[in-house]
Amino acid sequence: MMSPASAGKAEKLGYTNSKVFHDGLPAWKKAGNLVVSTAKYVKDNMDKEIPQILVDLRLVDEAKKEHITGAVSIPAKEISAAKDRLPADKKAPIVFYAADAKTAADAFKVVRGWGYTNTAILDGGIEAWKKAGNPLASGALKTTIVYVPKPRPGEIAIEEFKTVAEALPKDKLILDVRDEDEAMHGMLKGAKNISTQAIPGRLSEIPKDKEIIAHCVTGVRAEMAYLLLKEQGYKARFLNADIKIDKDGKYEITKE
């Protein structure tokens, strides 16, 4: 757990009132509380062509003048009647922005209430987006949501990962990017353990002539490792799924 560790570090620095919200973001989201996404996240998805639903809640005329590229128009007062316009997939990432944060938060509540768990509002709204120099468009906005999930760049198919883990081909290396204390409880056969954080300092131990397949526990750190390795000129991919490994190297992969 990262939060108790951080709280401990703050105490060492002399902070006298540090607390831990142990249940963390999963509990926060489960309770239906407001979640905020940054412009960076929305822009990253755009750049990587990761499907997302961006909803402009402003009045149609205002939105026409200037809006975030790719946004769909659903004026705030229409949102409670817009249930049918949303995708069937309740895990679809939906980001709202409006003229003010309150309006966006109200739309969030309505849609979150329908069970869309990956709903958020845009941090700082369109102003923050503009300030960051991100792309804008003008003219008529789309009014129909099209959402087709697709894999993230660098993601290896689960079946292929299993094949690699079984056969251990010479041209591939499975890199376990978990921390050492996690890996010591069991690793995949033939895998090498270098934590994501340690990668920059230990590049000499990672062969350049092999494709590196990174895995962690949920895919988050593995994706970070994939990006680091790609930047360093490696051929790499990562497992974007939950993986549990026992001490004998037996594993189970699940994808939400």
């Binding site: 757990m1 560790a5 607390k19 926060w28 940054t38």
Partner: protein, 224 residues
């Protein structure tokens, strides 16, 4: 039965003849299998050597790297995870990375942090204080690592965090910090929170407020 397993059984027979400490293990089939794996491990690691020299093997690590964060290496303490325990033979296996150690305990062995030897969960971090007795490793004391428990007064619940967020950072005199990796923060975070990835804590420390008595609330999202 594969040859490998057969070979392991032979090794066990050899060991049980040589060392009565293992005699109890040949009774239960499960224990034999466990031990077979263990013995195979020992042989793979150390080459075939008489058990009595196990104590003298100094090339095997006695401390797992992660334990070094808080503990200094000690010749007489094995720090690793519990590989297995036998109540009948009164042996304990400690795994340290890929290496494993086997030692004997008895009713005089001190136990700290668990109700009984049988109740130490497998894979649990343990410290085993060893000594040499009759040419074998003997356990004087086992201490079981206690979970890094956050004291109750330091914990905040979701309702309290929601109340504070509603109140606002200044009025509530607090700051919420997201200990997860930055991409997770960008994807979705608690309103008003600031990204401060635990692994980069030392680099990002200037994000913390100047007032040392301000309430800091750290959160994350479980394992990643």
């Amino acid at each position: 039965m594969t040859n490998g397993v057969a070979a392991s059984y032979n090794v066990i027979n050899y060991l049980t003849l040589k060392n009565p400490a293992f005699a109890g293990c040949t009774k239960g089939g499960r224990m034999v299998r466990k031990l077979a794996v263990l013995v195979t491990g020992l042989i793979l690691l150390s080459g075939i050597v008489p058990l009595s020299s196990a104590v003298a093997q100094t090339e095997k690590p006695k401390i797992a790297p992660i334990c070094k964060q808080c503990h200094t290496p000690d010749e007489k303490i094995l720090r690793g995870v519990l590989g297995g325990i036998s109540g009948k033979a009164k042996t304990i296996q400690v795994n340290i990375g890929a290496a494993s150690w086997l030692a004997k305990w008895d009713d005089g062995t001190e136990l700290v942090g668990a109700e009984s030897f049988g109740k130490i969960p497998k894979e649990k971090e343990i410290a085993v204080h060893i000594t040499e007795k009759d040419g074998a490793l003997f356990v004087k004391k086992v201490s079981v690592k206690q979970p890094a428990k956050v004291p109750a007064e330091k914990l905040v619940k979701v309702e309290e965090v929601a109340r504070l967020v509603e109140l606002g950072v200044e009025k509530g005199n607090f700051l919420i910090l997201d200990s997860r990796p930055a991409p997770r923060y960008h994807e979705g975070h608690i309103p008003t929170s600031i990204s401060l990835y635990d692994a980069d804590f030392d680099k990002l420390v200037d994000k913390l407020p100047k007032e040392k008595d301000r309430m800091l609330i750290f959160y994350c999202g479980g394992p990643t």
